[in-house]
C-alpha cells in the first residue's frame, strides 16, 4: 500500500468522523447534564436535515449556512420538549423509575417523530443539490470531497464554540455545576431544572446543525436517524459517558476506524471494525477514553 492511499483512508475517515463527532456532542451533553439517554436524538438530526432542506428550497439559503440557522429554532424546540415532557421524568424521585420513564419517553418520541414525518412529508427521499457535493479539493494525490470538508470544519468550529461556552461563560459553568453535583449547584442558586432545559436545547440544536451539515451531501428521508443513532451512542460511550471532549474524539475515532478497517477487512465488515475497536477500548478502559471526566461536562 502506498503512503498516499493510506493517507486518503485516514483523511476520508476523519472527514466522515467530523460530523459523527458533532452529532455525538449533543447526545453527550444531554446525558452528562441530565442523565437522560435520548433515543430521539437521531430523529432531531433528521428534522434538522429537513429544516435545512426547506431553508435551501424555499428561502434559497445555502445548506452550510442553513445548518447554522437551524440552531435557534431547535434550541427553542429542545427547551419546549424538555418543559412539556422530559421535566416530568427528570430532576427528582426514584432514579430507577425515572430512568425507565426517560427511556420509554425518548423511544416513544423517536417513533412518533419518524412516523409523523413519514405521514406528513412522505417517505420520498429529498436532497439539496449543491455543486460541492460532487467536487473535490485536490491536495497532492489526495481528493477531499468539498461538502465533507466544509462540513468537517464547521463541525470543528461548532464543537469549539460549545467548548468555549461550557468553560468560559457563566451559563456554561452553571451547566457543568448542575452536571457535577445538582444538589450543591442548587445551593449556589443555580436552577438545575432550567439548566436541564438549556442542556437539552443545546443538545438538540447541535444535532440538528449536524443534520444540516450532513444534508449537504446525504439524502434526506424520514428514517435517516437509524443510519446514525447507533454510531452516536458508540461514540458517546467510547469517549466516556457524558464527556464532551470524549464524544468528539469518539465520533472522529469511529469515522477513522470505519475507514481504516477497509485496509484489513472486506467492505461488508466495515462496522465490525468499529464494534471490535469499541469492545477493545472498553476492555482496556471500561470508563471510556475520557473516563476520568466521565459524567462531567
Amino acid at each position: 500500500m502506498v503512503a498516499s492511499e493510506l493517507t486518503q483512508y485516514v483523511v476520508t475517515g476523519l472527514l466522515v468522523g467530523g460530523v459523527y463527532a458533532l452529532m455525538s456532542i449533543g447526545l453527550a451533553l444531554i446525558f452528562g447534564v441530565m442523565r437522560v439517554v435520548n433515543f430521539a436524538q437521531g430523529d432531531f438530526m433528521m428534522l434538522g436535515m429537513y429544516l435545512t432542506y426547506y431553508y435551501a428550497v424555499v428561502l434559497g439559503i445555502d445548506p452550510l449556512v442553513g445548518a447554522l440557522v437551524t440552531i435557534p429554532p431547535f434550541f427553542v424546540i429542545g427547551l419546549l420538549v424538555h418543559r412539556v415532557f422530559l421535566a416530568r421524568v427528570t430532576g427528582g424521585g426514584d432514579p430507577n423509575r425515572e430512568m425507565d420513564a426517560q427511556l420509554i419517553l425518548t423511544l416513544g418520541m423517536s417513533l412518533i417523530i419518524t412516523n409523523a414525518t413519514t405521514m406528513i412529508l412522505s417517505p420520498m427521499p429529498r436532497a439539496i443539490r449543491t455543486t460541492y457535493a460532487t467536487r473535490a479539493f485536490a491536495v497532492g494525490p489526495l481528493l477531499l470531497n468539498q461538502a465533507r470538508t466544509y462540513a468537517f470544519f464547521m463541525a470543528l468550529l461548532l464543537a469549539a464554540a460549545v467548548y468555549v461556552f461550557l468553560t468560559r461563560t457563566d451559563l456554561g459553568k452553571a451547566l457543568r455545576a448542575a452536571a457535577d453535583d445538582p444538589e450543591a449547584a442548587s445551593y449556589q442558586a443555580i436552577n438545575v431544572r432550567a439548566m436541564h432545559g438549556v442542556a437539552f436545547g443545546v443538545g438538540i440544536a447541535l444535532v440538528a446543525a449536524a443534520g444540516g451539515l450532513l444534508a449537504t451531501y446525504y439524502p434526506i428521508e424520514p428514517n435517516a436517524a437509524v443510519n446514525f443513532i447507533v454510531l452516536m451512542f458508540v461514540a458517546v460511550v467510547l469517549g466516556g459517558l457524558g464527556s464532551i471532549p470524549g464524544a468528539f474524539v469518539g465520533g472522529l475515532a469511529i469515522g477513522l476506524v470505519q475507514s481504516l478497517t477497509l485496509l484489513v477487512l472486506p467492505l461488508q465488515l466495515q462496522n465490525v471494525g468499529v464494534f471490535v475497536a469499541f469492545l477493545l477500548v472498553l476492555y482496556v478502559r471500561p470508563q471510556g477514553l475520557f473516563g476520568r471526566r466521565a459524567r462531567t461536562v
Binding site: V16, P123, P125, E221, L267
Partner: protein
C-alpha cells in the same frame, strides 16, 4: 393538563406511533381480499408506496368495470400491511394480515429478503403469493403457494450480461474488465454470484473490483477509488438503499470515473434519483429490471401519472398492477375466492391477453412447477434526459439505446 387534553394527546401519540397502515375498512361478505405486504415505513417505504399505487389503480379499474364477473361482480379489496425495515417485521405483518380475516391472495414484499420470510407464512397458511422479488431461492424451496413473476436473479445476470456484451461489441467497445459493487441484500447477492463464479470468466472478462457492503454505507470513497484505479469497462451496480446509491453516484462524478454503469434492479430508476443527483449524472446509466413501461403502454402510463402525480411509471407500480389483474383472472377461472382454488388456478393459468399479460414481458403468463414464470425475460432500462426508457428488447423498446463513454 386537563384529563381531556391528556386523552387527546395520548390518542394522537398512539395514532402517530402506529405503522402507516390503518384499520381495515368494512367490506361486503363476498368481496375478494388481497393482502399487500410491503415496506410502508423505514428505508424502503418509498418502494412500498409505489407498489401500493399500482395495486390501487388496478383495483379501481377492475371494480369500476364490474368486478369479478364469475363471482357475480364481487369487488376486490386491498388489505395493506407494513413490512417495515426488517425481515422480522415483514413476517409479523404477513402473519397479522393473513390470520385476521380470510385473504384470497397476497402480493409482496419488494425486497427479496422480506419475500423469503413472508412467503413462508403464506405457504404455511396456504395463501397464494405473487412477488416481483428476484432472488432464486424464493422459488427453490418447493413451495406450492409462491408465484414469482420476475426472471430470477441468476437468469437476469446471464441475460443482462449477454445483452450488454452484445451492445458493447456493436459499438466497438468490447468489455474486457468488469466490476461488481453492491449491497448484500438477497437479489443483489444472487445476481452477483453467477457473474463472479462463472459468467464473466466464460466471456473472457476480468473481474477487477468486487465490493459488497452491508447497508448503510458510511462513505463510498474506497469503492470509487478502486474503480478509478482499475478503470473497468462495465460496473454491475446493486445499491438498493437510496442514500448508499446516491453516495456512490456522487463519488463517481467527483472522482471523474468514466465507465458504463449497469444497475441490478428497478431501485435505480425511481423519480427521486433525478431530483437528487440531476439528469446529467444519470444520463446513459442503465439497469436491468423485471418490468417497465413498454411500447403500447403509453395510455396506462398517462393514466398512472395523472392519478398519482408521479413523473413516470416504474417496475414497482407496474408489477403490483399486473399482480392484481392476475389474481382477478385466477379468481375468474377458479370461480371462487377460496385461496386454495385461486392457487390452483394460478398454477394452471396461461394468459396471453389482458392488462397483466401485456405488462409482463414477453406478454404471456404461465408458471412452472416451482412457481416461476415461464419465459420471463429481463428488460434493460436506460436514463435518457432525466427519464428512464425501456431500450431492450428492441421490439418493445420506447427509445433506442445510447452507448458511449
Amino acid at each position: 393538563m386537563s384529563l381531556l387534553a391528556r386523552a387527546v394527546t395520548l390518542a394522537l401519540a398512539l395514532l402517530l406511533a402506529l405503522p402507516v397502515a390503518g384499520p381495515p375498512p368494512a367490506v361486503a361478505v363476498d368481496d375478494l381480499k388481497i393482502a399487500l405486504v410491503v415496506p410502508l415505513s423505514g428505508r424502503w417505504a418509498r418502494q412500498g408506496q409505489l407498489k401500493k399505487m399500482g395495486a390501487e389503480m388496478a383495483i379501481e379499474e377492475i371494480n369500476s368495470q364490474g368486478g369479478i364477473k364469475a363471482l357475480g361482480g364481487a369487488k376486490i379489496v386491498l388489505r395493506e400491511a407494513d413490512a417495515g425495515d426488517s425481515v422480522e417485521k415483514a413476517v409479523s405483518a404477513a402473519q397479522r394480515v393473513l390470520t385476521r380475516e380470510k385473504i384470497s391472495a397476497g402480493i409482496g414484499s419488494w425486497l427479496s429478503s422480506f419475500t423469503l420470510g413472508v412467503t413462508e407464512v403464506a405457504e404455511r397458511l396456504q395463501v397464494p403469493w405473487l412477488t416481483l422479488s428476484y432472488a432464486d431461492s424464493i422459488t427453490e424451496r418447493g413451495f406450492k403457494y409462491t408465484f414469482q413473476t420476475s426472471p430470477v436473479s441468476s437468469a437476469q445476470a446471464e441475460q443482462a450480461l449477454d445483452l450488454v456484451v452484445e451492445l458493447a461489441k456493436r459499438n466497438n467497445q468490447p468489455i474486457r474488465k468488469a466490476a461488481l459493487i453492491g449491497d448484500n441484500t438477497a437479489a443483489t447477492v444472487f445476481f452477483f454470484k453467477p457473474l463472479r463464479e462463472k459468467l464473466l470468466q466464460a466471456k473472457g472478462i476480468e473481474l477487477v473490483v468486487d465490493e459488497v457492503w452491508t447497508p448503510p454505507l458510511p462513505d463510498a470513497t474506497s469503492i470509487v477509488q478502486k474503480l478509478r484505479a482499475t478503470q473497468p469497462d462495465l460496473v454491475f451496480y446493486g445499491a438498493t438503499n437510496f442514500p448508499d446509491s446516491i453516495q456512490v453516484l456522487q463519488k463517481v462524478k467527483e472522482f471523474g470515473v468514466k465507465t458504463h454503469i449497469q444497475g441490478v434492479g428497478a431501485w435505480l430508476v425511481t423519480p427521486e434519483y433525478v431530483k437528487t443527483v440531476g439528469k446529467e449524472l444519470l444520463d446513459n446509466i442503465q439497469t436491468v429490471v423485471a418490468a417497465h413501461p413498454l411500447k403500447g403502454q403509453e395510455e396506462l402510463v398517462k393514466k398512472f401519472v395523472q392519478r398519482t402525480g408521479e413523473p413516470f411509471m416504474t417496475q414497482d407500480p407496474l408489477c403490483s398492477y399486473a399482480h392484481v389483474w392476475l389474481i382477478k383472472e385466477a379468481a375468474e377461472q377458479a370461480k371462487s375466492t377460496d385461496p386454495k382454488a385461486i392457487r390452483d388456478a394460478l398454477a394452471k393459468i396461461d394468459l396471453t391477453t389482458g392488462p397483466a399479460a401485456s405488462t409482463l414481458s414477453p406478454g404471456r403468463i404461465r408458471f412452472d412447477e416451482r412457481g416461476r414464470r415461464i419465459g420471463a425475460v429481463p428488460l434493460i432500462v436506460q436514463w435518457q434526459n432525466g427519464e428512464p426508457f425501456t431500450v431492450v428488447p428492441v421490439n418493445l423498446a420506447t427509445r433506442p439505446v445510447v452507448w458511449h463513454k
